[in-house]
Amino acid sequence: MSDPLAWSLGRAAQAIRDREISSFELTEAALERAHATQPSLNAFIEIEDETALAAAAAADEALAAGVAMGPLHGVPLAHKDMYDRKGRVTGCGSKIRKDHVAATTATVIARLDAAGQIHLGRLNMSEFAVGPTGFNAHHGRACNPLDPARITGGSSSGSGAAMASGSAFAALGSDTGGSIRIPAACCGIVGIKPTQGRVSRHGAMPLSASQDCIGPLTRTVADAELVLSLIAGADPLDPASIDAPPVERAPTVAALRIGVVRQGFFADGLDPEVAGSIVEATRILERAGASIIEAKLPPMEDVIELANLVAMSEGAAIHLDWLRQRPQEYGEQVRARLVQALGTAAPVYLRALQLRATLLARTLAETFASCDALLVPTMPTLPPISADVEVGASEAMTRVLVGLSKFTRPFSFLGLPALSVPMPATAAGLRPSAQLVAGPWQEGLLFTLGDALEREASGRSD
């Protein structure tokens, strides 16, 4: 039997159903991996050995008794420390909420529970999901399994590290400006930010009401599709969730029109290995029958700034009381970024929201009228060395942090779905990441394209 911890989520679920392996054996192996890597990777804030093993044993008993199973029956998952589970701590990677016991269960957790998941523990994250590096002043940073000297990316830092190290079979992250896609890109895995409103946020820690999205980090595109299919759907407990058509793949890559950017934003100043991986991704899709066109985009530098302005204003409103009364309990950089939003006047914030609608209409009319999906890098560079982006609250803070998320943030502001897919490894073992972006509710099209990239990048023969 191959190493079960290298299996995909789908393969693991099937193996349990087929009794190739028990849930207990798989969960025990995942817990051992989590403990073995914790000193070097710091992916977890809490590892829940006892309850995980008890739940796995119960899953095996249910299977033996022929009880109806969900699609994730007995498979161990772990999630970012920001999803409420009734009676358990949701710490948000913070000092302020470190002992907060949830009174309810987040809808996404309830849906994965119904599918049969086993909880392994709470994963590390940037404090209150603020920050694309994954640094955390209270819990320490998670380290990148591909190269521990480099950042995992954030804010879903532990989700990236746990998935890349084989400690779990899927992990929920959250994405307000790139917090799923950036760790996926840094750690060489898959991550999807769905269309705004596709997934309920009830019971999830809020940062930005307009841009927060929940999605999975996984090792394969099919796994991301599986998890998204389980958590998606309107929820009366989240009035911002939207009743949308189900995710359905496009039948083939052939005949799809892919927009690429060969100069200007998304192309200039790229790390050569990132640039090369996008050229290769373009070739793969072209060979599969897609037509490649030059994409026309709205002014991205402005879109990035509007995204940051809106997200941080909304975040500051949520944190205002603690910023007044408990400022010392924040990490220096997180506090400075939230307080920074006091420099945005209310009419300017509201104008940015008006511009959001206008820019979406313009993007649909100008960009997606001529292409079905965009192919751009997830990040302009390979994951940076941690010391190179440790800027604290210095003058370099906004430039460096916004720079890391410059290719992800615009699509958060526009509310579009975006999928990050790892491309073949560099000589140093890092994985440049391609980002596929489509119009609203077109996640299925992204999975079709992502699967084509993954098949060639991984040498898969199916």
């Binding site: 939207i242 509007l306 307080v339 006091l342 209409a361």
Partner: protein, 71 residues
Amino acid sequence: MSFGEDDASRLLTAVLERPPEPGEARAIAEQVERARRHAVATNLAGTGELFTVETHAHAATLRGLAQGGDR
């Protein structure tokens, strides 16, 4: 006239009822300029159509598309 760190310090003290921590006043002053440059002094909306655009229009567009509306 630009909005400097002293102004930011007074704003922060008035709103949060505490003096700035290191880096906060500079970050606020910087944000005033960034917001002006990218959200106000732009022509992103073309000529004046923001007058009738509601702040929830983005979500309304996504809902409309989910129900089969045209782009």
